[in-house]
């Protein structure tokens, strides 16, 4: 048990917690701008990828599942970032 607690699963959990804390503070600001929003979505991509690889154990395979799920993350993140920043420019 101790070996597992020290292993990659717990390391992933700590990374996910730290990244979540980093993004939580951003929610209190009215707008982060292009770069700030991009940073939030990049952190989300990293979190999603960590979860896929270390919790779900999706490995690189000939059918490219890890690539497909990562692509899904990128599409929804970029779409939201683009939509939110269009708002940012319109309001200004």
């Amino acid at each position: 048990m101790q070996r597992i607690m020290r292993g990659h699963i717990t390391q992933t959990w700590i990374i996910l917690l730290v990244l979540t804390m980093l993004t939580m503070g951003a929610g209190y600001r009215s707008s982060l701008g292009l770069v700030g929003d991009a940073a939030i979505m990049i952190i989300t991509l990293i979190k999603g990828r960590q979860l896929l690889v270390h919790f779900l154990e999706i490995r690189r395979s000939r059918f490219g599942w890890l690539f497909l799920f990562s692509l899904w993350l990128v599409i929804v993140s970029v779409a939201n970032w683009g939509a939110a920043n269009m708002v940012h420019f319109l309001v200004r």
Partner: protein
């Protein structure tokens, strides 16, 4: 071999259940963790939530001020705490699979119980969040575009959390390694959907 014996042997080979079980009938899905049938469901979840997130983004472009006003009324702290809770729950579920593979069924069950308990805390905080919105006079009856999508997406996800707790309970009871992988795969996808939903709905403005 005579023709009759050859036909008999062929029939035997085709109808042998062990032979049927070994056939890789699931193709690409067999490369994913857990039972492939679970992944048929999970892939449809990726499709549905993906479309919902894209609809949310498209609606944000159409009504930017409504979305800004709506997001200003959301409880970022509560949603952040819920993110920490689901991540920790996913950690328990992933540990349960690892521990089960070492043969420690008892510890695996405790870890699954921990994951389920944290899932219940998530539900309780979500109910508190909805109650706070109701106290502000925001409900499904009078919701604008932002809050309609907010209730639709987070409510649909909440239903998955409830179903996930039930699935974790079932695999804790029928606790083969493969069942644990199947049940926790559902839980991790529910976790992943929230990880994506949290910045989209609550953070990025």
């Amino acid at each position: 071999m005579s023709l009759e014996r050859h036909i008999e042997a062929s029939h035997h080979e085709v109808l042998d259940p062990d032979t049927l079980m070994e056939e890789p009938v699931w193709g690409a899905l067999s490369e994913l963790p857990g039972h492939p049938m679970m992944w048929v469901l999970l892939l449809s979840e990726f499709a549905v939530f993906g479309i919902l997130f894209l609809i949310f983004s498209a609606a944000r472009i159409r009504e930017p001020l409504v979305f800004l006003a709506g997001q200003a009324q959301l409880d970022v702290t509560l949603a952040g705490i819920n993110t920490v809770i689901l991540i920790t729950s996913g950690w328990c579920a992933a540990l349960a699979v690892s521990v089960r593979e070492t043969g420690n069924r008892r510890m695996a069950r405790w870890l699954l119980a921990g994951a389920m308990a944290l899932g219940c805390v998530f539900i309780a905080l979500k109910v508190l969040e909805y109650a706070a919105k109701a106290a502000l006079g925001i409900g499904l009856g009078n919701a604008d575009t932002f809050f309609t999508l907010y209730f639709l997406i987070t409510g649909f996800h909440l239903m998955h959390v409830i179903l996930g707790i039930v699935i974790l309970g079932i695999v804790a009871w029928h606790d083969t390694s493969d069942n644990l992988r199947t049940g926790t795969a559902f839980w991790h996808v529910v976790d992943l959907l929230w990880i994506v939903m949290y910045p989209i709905i609550y953070l990025v403005r």
